[in-house]
């Protein structure tokens, strides 16, 4: 009986180690969903989404099996200017009353070496779902000082606002927005 228990325990440990699911550390704010868009073509404007949650699966030995799901509270947009944020939440842009949540669900991950890869998935934003590809880089991972185990990634992607039905004209230099994504996950 004891042997079986040990075996099951070992199998369980093995299974979790293999699946290696990580919860994105939004509680400790070691994850950031940021964007930047050109202002008039003269400078970059930065903003971020403060409220989101998600988890990812990652196995260093089998990076191709990686996957991630993230849910974003769109109304948490913050560009450090209340009047602008109000405008961004309104019907001209994100229309958060109608589309309160944005999601990203990965469909595949293609490692390209040196800890880098291309993460494909479906982004749902402003009620529109479209495939996007995020260029991902593994930043680091390992034991943390408090008994946990962490992995962190950084990624970037770019898309046109009008692809997601956001038609407000910010000018020719501001048609696309860049996303700068950083996640640190704690193994669960």
């Amino acid at each position: 009986m004891k042997k079986i228990a040990i075996f099951l325990f070992a199998a369980l440990i093995g299974a979790t180690a293999q699946a290696a699911e990580y919860k994105i550390d939004t509680k400790g704010a070691h994850a950031f969903i940021q964007f930047r868009i050109k202002h008039l073509g003269y400078s970059w404007l930065y903003g971020r989404f403060d409220e989101f949650s998600g988890s990812f699966e990652y196995d260093e030995k089998k990076p191709a099996d990686s996957s991630i799901n993230v849910e974003i509270d769109v109304a948490s947009i913050d560009s450090n200017h209340a009047e602008r944020d109000k405008h961004l939440r309104g019907e001209d842009f994100l229309h958060v009353e109608k589309y309160p949540t944005a999601t990203f669900k990965s469909t595949s991950y293609e490692p390209v070496g040196e800890g880098k890869g291309k993460l494909s998935g479906e982004l749902t934003l402003h009620g529109v779902t479209k495939p996007i590809v995020i260029d991902v880089e593994h930043v680091g991972g390992g034991q943390d000082p408090w008994g946990g185990y962490r992995q962190g990634f950084t990624g970037t992607t770019e898309f046109a606002l009008k692809d997601f039905g956001i038609m407000y004209d910010l000018g020719p230099a501001s048609q696309t927005v860049e996303m700068i994504l950083d996640v640190e996950g704690i193994r669960i």
């Binding site: 450090n80 209340a82 004209d169």
Partner: protein, 204 residues
């Protein structure tokens, strides 16, 4: 004309405050409605809101002055023969106008100062933020601002129609005394006699 109100007449201070604020308030509604539809590259995209905020703060100062002045002065009596319900409705409407104005101005202020930024009044001076960083402050304040602004315009229309009714239908002194004029509207047509009579009665 005296600055202060009497039991019969508004003083010039109350009249000036009324007619200074009335067009500004209606203009502010139109400006607020119009400026939200401007495209990003419109020359007024930045100017519109700057003017709206500047005038808004000045109107708030005028409103506070007006309320203090109102408290310090007698209210001219209703014209003779005013039914009680009408007198009460008029009081309620006036109170509603003041309350709505105050709420609209405060909510507008809370939109622009939600992130701690001050409101600049035409570069002359700045009004600092006080309440800030409440959850969804700019969005909530914005919705209140918009709904109350429309409500105000409804009440303004009622107020204006009531004044015109007093002037053209009842032919009493209600509108004239807010214009600083004495006596009833000049009588016209067949109604002359009754109008004359009323005037005559009033002056006794």
């Amino acid at each position: 004309m005296a600055a202060r109100n009497s039991k019969q007449q508004y003083g010039w201070m109350a009249i000036a405050l009324h007619w200074l604020m009335a067009p500004a308030i209606i203009g502010m509604f139109a400006l607020g409605w119009w400026m939200r539809q401007l495209s990003y590259y419109d020359p007024w995209y930045r100017q519109g809101p700057e003017i709206h905020k500047g005038i808004g703060i000045l109107l708030l100062a005028l409103l506070l002055l007006r309320l203090v002045w109102k408290a310090m002065n007698p209210h001219p009596q209703d014209v003779p023969g005013t039914p009680r319900w009408q007198a009460l409705a008029a009081r309620a409407a006036h109170g509603g106008l003041y309350l709505l104005l105050l709420a609209i101005m405060v909510s507008g202020y809370l939109i622009s100062t939600a992130d701690g930024r001050a409101i600049s009044v035409f570069g002359w001076f700045e009004v600092p933020a006080t309440l800030q960083g409440l959850a969804n402050q700019e969005d909530l304040a914005g919705e209140i601002h918009e709904v109350l602004a429309w409500t105000l315009m409804g009440l303004v229309a009622l107020h204006a129609l009531a004044a015109l009714k007093h002037h053209f239908v009842d032919r009493d002194a209600t509108l004239r005394r807010m214009l600083g004029l004495r006596g009833n509207p000049a009588p016209v047509g067949r109604r002359n006699e009754s109008g004359m009579n009323e005037t005559a009665e009033l002056t006794k």
